[in-house]
């Protein structure tokens, strides 16, 4: 698996406030990394640094040369004064071949919304349109900032499944930002728990039982994940038949800060 992005010892201080301290983060092809942390933990800032929108004070960031990133920003509202259809939105800032536009819309199952006005889309529909837009640029890395915000439970499951399918079809890396682990997709390979520094990281189950995670989110959060995984190891199709979710064969792997300098 080829490495797409590698951040080492990222630090940022604003005034006398430490925003980020010694953060390491790697993403490889086909890997799903989820960044979680409470509000104000520096998730968004770290994301901005990884996207190249902001410069860190310390550390270095290495991206594979020519890396294309598809960015799905946090939920955004479009002014209703702007008449803009989904198709037109996908053509900003550069005109795109119609075939490509259609294909991207089909891939995220919103082809029926091509002529709809973007300001009238629901939260879930708009996230899919944003994802289609990101796919247009044939990204090697997809970055999604709180994609499930303001979407109902089933909509979130659908969205995570869609992201997983895109990952499998295209083999791109995925970086997800979320403020809770509650619904972090079953397909996450690595969870990084951030609170200015990396508190703990590893596979979802491992992180949810890590003392640093419990300290950050409270014992109920760990329970929530356990409960979620217990009750939702399958979904029901329309007829009510259970559909198993992806099975995980590997035992949970735990890595905490003390032993973070694992070679790669």
């Amino acid at each position: 698996m080829s490495r797409l992005l590698e951040a080492r010892g990222i630090g940022l201080t604003r005034g006398d406030r430490v925003i980020l301290e010694n953060v390491d983060l790697d993403i490889s092809e086909g890997e799903v990394v989820t960044l979680i942390g409470p509000n104000g933990s520096g998730k968004t800032t770290l994301l901005r640094i990884l996207l190249g929108l902001e410069r860190p004070d310390a550390g270095n960031l290495h991206r594979r040369s020519g890396l294309t990133i598809g960015y799905v920003p946090q939920r955004l509202t479009i002014s209703p004064t702007l008449p803009l259809s989904t198709r037109q939105f996908l053509q900003l800032p550069h005109r795109q071949p119609q075939g490509k536009v259609e294909q991207a819309l089909r891939e995220t199952a919103v082809e029926h919304l091509a002529e709809a006005q973007v300001h009238a889309l629901s939260g879930g529909e708009f996230q899919r349109v944003l994802l289609a837009r990101a796919l247009l640029h044939e990204p090697e890395l997809l970055v999604l900032d709180e994609p499930a915000q303001g979407i109902d439970f089933n909509g979130q499951l659908d969205l995570y499944q869609l992201i997983d399918r895109v990952r499998q079809d295209r083999g791109c890396g995925v970086l997800l930002v979320s403020h809770d682990l509650h619904l972090v997709m079953a397909a996450t390979d690595q969870v990084i728990c951030l609170n200015r520094h990396v508190c703990c990281s590893g596979e979802p189950e491992a992180v949810s039982q890590h003392p640093a995670y419990t300290a950050l989110f409270g014992p109920r959060a760990a329970q929530a994940l356990a409960i979620y995984q217990h009750h939702h190891d399958h979904r029901h199709d329309i007829a009510g038949e259970p559909i198993p979710l992806r099975q995980r064969n590997n035992p949970p792997r735990l890595r905490n800060e003390a032993s973070a300098d694992e070679p790669f």
Binding site: L53, Y71, S79, P93
Partner: protein
């Protein structure tokens, strides 16, 4: 033909309306109405400076508005003072400074009312040239940056992540606004310019299905407002600048009614 002051007035007004329509759309989309208003208030300082330095007054206005716009654009980068506070400080201070400076130029025979509310019937051939050159360059810039401007309007972060130079886009928009204010000053005056930006764009919104449609429709409605305003001004002997704005307001109200009918269908 250009010797007829009415023809000149219409050509000047139409030139301004053609630019104000598309630019006004961005003012509406980006909620910059207050920005445009504040910027035009600072134009008075430009008039005074232009007079003191013996340069063309429109050049003085364009330069002053551009300076204020750039200052606001750069100060927006810091996040300690919110933009509306910044604007209030800069623009209204510039207006006050303009009035104070004006009083020092003792024997100045300046038609203040003409600059505040416009004097379209006194438009000269050189004014006309200014308006059309300035207007054409603003439209050219808007056309070149169109898609990037739209994306930056929808979401600045997204645009920035996709390689759009957002700061340059923002400054470009402010500069075009400064130029438009300078050329529109003669027509509706610095106190009424914002209405020429906003009213046609708002009236066009209900009938547009795309940003381009809205921009073109706004330009067209602006030209109609200028024609109606001038005709009304002649017929009822009312001041021309405010008459144009009233005509634009009537068009806007009609668009509300038309829009209501459209929804009912």
């Amino acid at each position: 033909m250009l010797d007829d002051f009415l023809v000149r007035a219409f050509l000047a007004g139409a030139g301004v309306a053609l630019v104000a329509g598309p630019l006004g759309c961005f003012v509406v989309w980006r909620r910059m109405a207050y920005f445009g208003d504040s910027l035009s208030h600072s134009a008075l300082l430009g008039i005074t400076l232009g007079f003191l330095l013996q340069v063309d007054l429109q050049l003085g206005v364009a330069a002053t508005c551009a300076a204020v716009a750039l200052l606001v654009g750069l100060l927006q980068q810091q996040q300690r003072l919110p933009t509306d506070t910044l604007l209030g400080i800069l623009a209204h201070s510039a207006l006050a400074l303009g009035l104070v400076a004006l009083s020092f130029v003792g024997n100045l025979r300046l038609d203040l009312m003409g600059y505040l509310f416009g004097d379209v019937l006194a438009v000269s051939r050189s004014d006309l040239l200014w308006i059309w050159i300035g207007g054409a360059s603003v439209l050219l810039v808007l056309t070149i940056y169109w898609r990037r401007l739209l994306l930056a309007t929808v979401h600045e972060e997204l645009a920035s992540a996709e390689g759009v130079a957002v700061l340059r886009i923002r400054l470009t928009l402010m500069l075009t606004l400064a130029v438009t204010i300078a050329v529109a000053m003669k027509i509706v005056g610095i106190l009424l310019i914002t209405s020429m930006l906003i009213l046609p764009a708002a009236a066009a919104r209900r009938f547009a299905r795309s940003p381009e449609e809205m921009a073109i429709l706004a330009a067209g409605l602006g030209v109609v407002a200028v024609g109606l305003g001038l005709a009304g001004s002649l017929r009822y002997d009312t001041p021309s600048g405010p008459s144009i704005v009233v005509a634009a307001l009537l068009l806007f109200i009609l668009s509300l009614a038309g829009g209501a009918l459209k929804w009912r269908k």
